[in-house]
């Protein structure tokens, strides 16, 4: 095979992957962080591993299995938390471990060695297929349109749900649809960052953005930019240092977060002195 074509293909895939991952993670992550759903998202992520295991065992695309598990667990928790008859954090904790257990059992039962298992746990750009990239690209477009068209409705329902109920009968529909989209985003990004690390890909960029702005729309834009900076820098470092890409991305994002915090502290002090 021609080495340069292989490299070119790899770079294009890496750049598109980083771009789509940043867009989807920025949009979904801002919603998750603002609505304080980080723990729920962790539960969705790990529950979807059960779907990956069953996918392997049944010989279907593991991403489809993960999507089904992810969306069902997200809707289940959202439904239960509305009933308030169950300890939500305990339910998520159970779901979390149960999904992992199912995944491990079915992967163990699958005949032969599963070479891609590690890539689902820790993410790998090498195993990301064209179909994965296309799926993330389509997801980016869906999320952008969804948030642009329903921006005010989504913003106000997630800010103050009980007040929204005083004027709208669509609160539950929007909660379920948005949460399903979040679950799907998480699942599609598992290929990039892995089950163990994907949550940070969604939650660190909005936390970087919120250091500098408290306007929802701007938080989304800055999250996407911070995410893209983190993922592309992570790829580059990972490529040249020969270390795992998922871990490198998260490491890079945390460093950006620490630096941003530091800069913000200095700016605040500077303002105080000059007042």
């Amino acid at each position: 095979m021609d080495q340069s074509i292989f490299q070119y293909d790899f770079i294009v895939r890496a750049i598109l992957g980083a771009l789509f991952a940043s867009i989807t993670a920025g949009l979904a992550g801002t919603y998750i962080v603002s609505r304080r759903m980080v723990f729920l998202s962790g539960g969705i992520t790990h529950a979807s591993f059960g779907g990956i295991g069953i996918g392997y065992f049944a010989g279907i695309n593991p991403v489809i299995g993960a999507a089904v598990f992810g969306i069902l667990s997200a809707l289940g928790v959202e439904y239960l938390s509305g009933r308030q008859k169950i300890r939500e954090d305990s339910a998520i904790g159970i779901l979390w471990a149960f999904g992992m257990a199912i995944g491990i059992i079915f992967i163990y039962l699958t005949p032969g060695y599963s070479p891609n298992l590690m890539s689902y746990l820790f993410g790998s750009i090498l195993t990301v297929s064209d179909a994965d990239i296309i799926a993330l690209g389509v997801m980016s477009i869906i999320l952008i349109l969804y948030f642009l068209i329903f921006y005010r409705t989504i913003l106000y329902i997630s800010f103050d749900e009980s007040y929204a109920r005083t004027y709208s009968s669509y609160v539950d529909i929007f909660k379920y649809v948005t949460t399903s989209l979040m679950a799907l985003t998480i699942v599609l990004n598992i290929r990039m960052a892995g089950v163990v690390l994907v949550l940070s890909l969604l939650t660190i960029p909005p936390n970087i953005a919120m250091i500098f702005t408290r306007v929802y729309f701007k938080v989304v834009v800055w999250s996407v930019l911070a995410g893209f900076l983190g993922t592309s820098a992570g790829y580059t470092i990972s490529y040249f240092a020969g270390i795992p890409v998922g871990a490198t991305i998260i490491f890079t994002l945390v460093i950006i977060w620490v630096v941003a915090k530091g800069i913000n502290q200095l700016l605040l002090r500077y303002k105080r002195i000059n007042r």
């Binding site: 801002t30 603002s34 304080r36 068209i149 329903f150 921006y151 005010r152 409705t153 913003l155 106000y156 997630s158 800010f159 103050d160 749900e161 009980s162 007040y163 929204a164 109920r165 005083t166 004027y167 709208s168 669509y170 929007f174 919120m210 702005t213 408290r214 306007v215 929802y216 938080v219």
Partner: protein, 248 residues
């Protein structure tokens, strides 16, 4: 004065138990009614029925459709249910009061934003339009939520325990704002603090499963007893104390 709505022998239940029983009650333009009663007596349930969030089990509420429909009621909920660390600005929160007339797909026009600016200024929050909620004091927060309730020019304003998040420095100012708003809308204010509100409102409604209307802003312990509305009358002074009935 034209009536805004009438309740006819309305009963409502909450969580399986009857909370409001056979209520006859009406609110007219420019009313300023203090809704008082013991905890669990049905004050908030009454507001929920008016807002259409709870269907009565029997009886009915009839709106005077020329003046009032569910789109022209402003509502200030009990202590903010919104997350103050959420990334929204003061303007965004005030604008959300307009969602009641908008579809799920609409944005905010520049007229809407101008209107929000006016409301923010009217409530003494000038210069804070772009701040996030976490940067405000309790009294300022309450004014933001009041702004959300009034931006749609409602004919009826429902306030649920507004005293809860007032810092005392803003309390008089807040009631002054309400007096001004009362010129253009009827106000129904739930409160447990009878002493404080009596100097601002025009009449009382005592709710304890039944509703008794008291057409004056002065109310005595004997009135409350007669209405079956057991609450303490508290007067504010240097030392917390309760004023008891005069011995005879």
């Amino acid at each position: 004065m034209a009536g805004l709505f009438d309740m006819h022998s309305l009963s409502a239940s909450y969580g399986g138990s009857l909370v409001l029983e056979e209520i006859n009650f009406s609110v007219k333009e420019n009313d300023f009614i203090g809704v008082i009663g013991p905890n669990g007596g049905g004050k908030t349930t009454l507001l929920k029925v008016i807002l259409g969030l709870l269907k009565p089990v029997s009886g009915e509420i009839i709106f005077n459709s020329d003046l009032l429909n569910s789109n022209s009621i402003g509502y200030l909920p009990q202590i903010s249910t919104g997350d103050i660390n959420y990334p929204v600005t003061v303007t965004d929160v005030v604008l959300s009061g307009l969602m009641i007339r908008k579809g799920v797909m609409s944005g905010m026009s520049s007229d809407d934003k101008k209107k929000a600016e006016m409301v923010i200024e009217e409530l003494g929050l000038k210069g804070m339009a772009r701040l996030s909620l976490s940067e405000l004091s309790g009294g300022q927060l309450q004014r933001v939520f009041l702004g959300r309730a009034i931006i749609g020019d409602p004919r009826l304003l429902l306030l649920d325990e507004p005293g809860n998040f007032v810092d005392s420095s803003f309390e008089n100012d807040f009631y002054e704002k309400l007096r001004m708003l009362n010129g253009r809308m009827a106000i129904l204010m739930v409160s447990h603090d009878v002493g404080t509100i009596s100097s601002h409102i025009k009449s009382f409604a005592c709710v304890n499963r039944k509703l008794h209307y008291h057409p004056s802003h002065e109310i005595t312990n004997d009135d409350l007893l007669a209405y079956g509305c057991p609450i303490q009358l508290i007067t504010h002074g240097e030392v917390p104390h309760t004023v008891l009935k005069i011995h005879t």
